[in-house]
Symmetry: C2
Subunit: 199 residues, 2 copies
């Protein structure tokens, strides 16, 4: 089936071939996000099947699990950025941070299986680096809170950002492990960070 | 070289063969721990070379990177247990926990490259599960502190244990990332947990 498709598209003009390829990529990423988010332990073969493309086609676009994992994570980072834009960050920084946290939490909770599926394929360092744009916004908000006197200033700013990043992912993992419920997790996370950040 | 050795040991009595195998395993684990702890990105071939055994011998004992990673981690868990035993946990629970944390910190800091080397080979869940014996001791100490009134009791006990586990590993990773120094990290970790645990 794959070979047939390749031969057919090879006879088409370049623009058409590129459009076909983009459609395949979209189908793979859409099916991949859905599957990876549904449960841990998803195989690349399952993604190809759910996307309705052959394995050869999938490997043609994503030569390794790592390539696929990175492409799937890039899609979710776009959502993360959009979620931040939707939050009102005016007013006292501690209240604004709490609103941001709860808005971002929905994405983290929804994506916790996705994260588990990609952790063997991309390094924690890669994940952290790709979170940099959002973490720089968090940092600016914490810094504003220090100026306003609502956050402590006896800990390095970068460490305060890291505690938020670590504890938020830890809370999501605790749901997966069955030690927290999805209902109690955001409140517990918020309470913990308030204790950690208060002067 | 490997084939020669195998043939020679095949002619020996079973006890001698087992002793040879145990010596190979010891050499591999000793060299592996040293290499994995020295820097990230170590290959299995490098471990074999440092241990002075052939790759075939290494793969005979550890058929995959995962098997080797698990065996190396098991060795460090024995040290973790011994480090706990060496700490005086009498007296107020908050002071005892701080002593435990500083003692365990030395191991975590020393083993942070090891951890980074195995993270692609064993799951975070496996690592957490193998920490269970030590985390149950942490839990008992936090629980005692709640009874003594030195620790808060408005957060789930399991979550308090998780915050210690997550923030300790985060602090070690911050040293690797160059955002904390090895000197400041234990104090910052201790300060953070005191804020998080106080009633």
């Amino acid at each position: 089936m794959d070979n047939g498709k390749t031969t057919a598209s090879a006879r088409r003009p370049g623009g058409q071939r590129r459009a076909d390829a983009q459609r395949s990529i979209d189908k793979i990423l859409t099916a991949g996000l859905k599957l990876y988010s549904s449960r841990p332990g998803v195989s690349v073969a399952e993604v190809a099947e759910a996307a309705g493309v052959g394995r050869v086609t999938l490997y043609g676009h994503f030569p390794s699990r790592t390539e696929l994992a990175k492409a799937l994570m890039e899609r979710t980072f776009e959502e993360t950025e959009a979620a931040w834009q939707s939050v009102d960050t005016s007013g006292p920084a501690d209240e604004a941070l709490d609103r941001v946290l709860r808005e971002q939490w929905h994405l983290m909770e929804r994506n916790r299986n996705l994260r588990e599926n990609v952790l063997g394929d991309v390094s924690p360092q890669w994940l952290r680096t790709r979170h940099d744009p959002i973490l720089r916004r968090v940092e600016a908000l914490i810094s504003r809170g220090q100026d306003e006197g609502v956050f402590r200033n006896d800990l390095p700013l970068s460490w305060m950002v890291t505690t938020l990043y670590s504890l938020a992912h830890a809370a999501a993992d605790e749901i997966t492990a069955g030690r927290l419920t999805a209902e109690q997790a955001p409140e517990i996370l918020s309470t913990s960070l308030r204790s950690l950040y208060r002067p």
